[in-house]
């Protein structure tokens, strides 16, 4: 039986990788993928605690997070494609139309 702290540490590692990719990479699709990675890290924490306390609510909440992530993925990728059509770039430094 693996203690839950290992799962929490793995979740922290995944979240940190997501944070690093979010700040380092300049391609908007990579930024998007790092957001998905961070969501998954939080889901791992939920499942770990749900398993420790034998709670069903943890899995229910993971399910809701997944649905929200799916909706976010669909809308986000549609926005990315629309932006690419309009600006023909994916670099977040060059998509600065709303900057003052």
């Amino acid at each position: 039986m693996v203690p839950i702290s290992w799962y929490l540490i793995l979740s922290a590692v995944l979240f940190s990788i997501g944070v690093a990719a979010f700040f380092i990479k300049r391609n908007i699709i990579t930024v998007f993928m790092s957001i998905e990675l961070m969501l998954n890290a939080v889901n791992l924490t939920f499942v770990g605690f749900a398993q420790q306390w034998h709670e069903v609510s943890g899995q229910i909440f993971v399910f809701f997070v997944m649905v929200v992530a799916a909706a976010e993925a669909a809308v986000g990728l549609a926005i990315i494609i629309a932006v690419f059509r309009a600006r023909s770039t994916l670099n977040v430094d060059q998509i600065d139309l709303m900057k003052l």
Binding site: L8, A20, M33, Q59, F63, M66, V67, A69, A71
Partner: protein
């Protein structure tokens, strides 16, 4: 994250999703594991790959070891340090012996989802439908000329 090509990043992310699904199944959470497998490995990975293919030709080579990259790495290391410190010092993760109960079967998850969480379920279904319609409207841009083009052509 450090891979150069975007497609390799997406494939690595898919492998990570599959590994997480295996971890959920290992933890006894069949519902979450199978949902992860269906939603992430099945749907979102394909969606990301399609987005990469549709936005081809923008493979800007970027170096990870730039000043801003160093700042991001330091920030991520700080986040990890705080999280690891919180995990190690909290008393929750080293509990007194919790009686081992059998893992919750799928049936109880379905019953609870249909009884106690029926309103959130309906709300999230509505939100997902709205998001899908919005995504289709955003992605399928109509072939009408833009308003400034109309004005320009009428001025000529």
């Amino acid at each position: 994250m450090t891979l150069r090509r975007l497609v390799h990043c997406a494939l690595a992310l898919t492998v990570a999703f599959a590994g997480l699904a295996a971890l959920y199944l290992n933890l006894g959470a069949e519902f979450a594991g199978l949902a992860q497998l269906l939603v992430y490995v099945g749907a979102i990975a394909i969606l990301i790959v399609f987005a990469i293919l549709l936005t081809r030709g923008d493979d800007t080579a970027e170096s990870v070891f730039s000043p801003s990259g160093l700042a991001g790495a330091i920030l991520a290391a700080a986040v990890f340090a705080v999280l690891a410190w919180a995990v190690e010092t909290s008393g929750i993760v080293h509990p007194a012996a919790i009686p081992a109960a059998p893992p919750e079967p799928m049936r109880s998850i379905g019953l609870i989802l249909m009884h106690r969480y029926i309103l959130p379920l309906e709300v999230i279904a509505l939100m997902l439908t709205a998001a899908m319609i919005g995504a289709v409207i955003l992605a399928l841009r109509e072939k009408r000329p833009q308003p400034e083009q109309i004005q320009r052509s009428s001025a000529q």
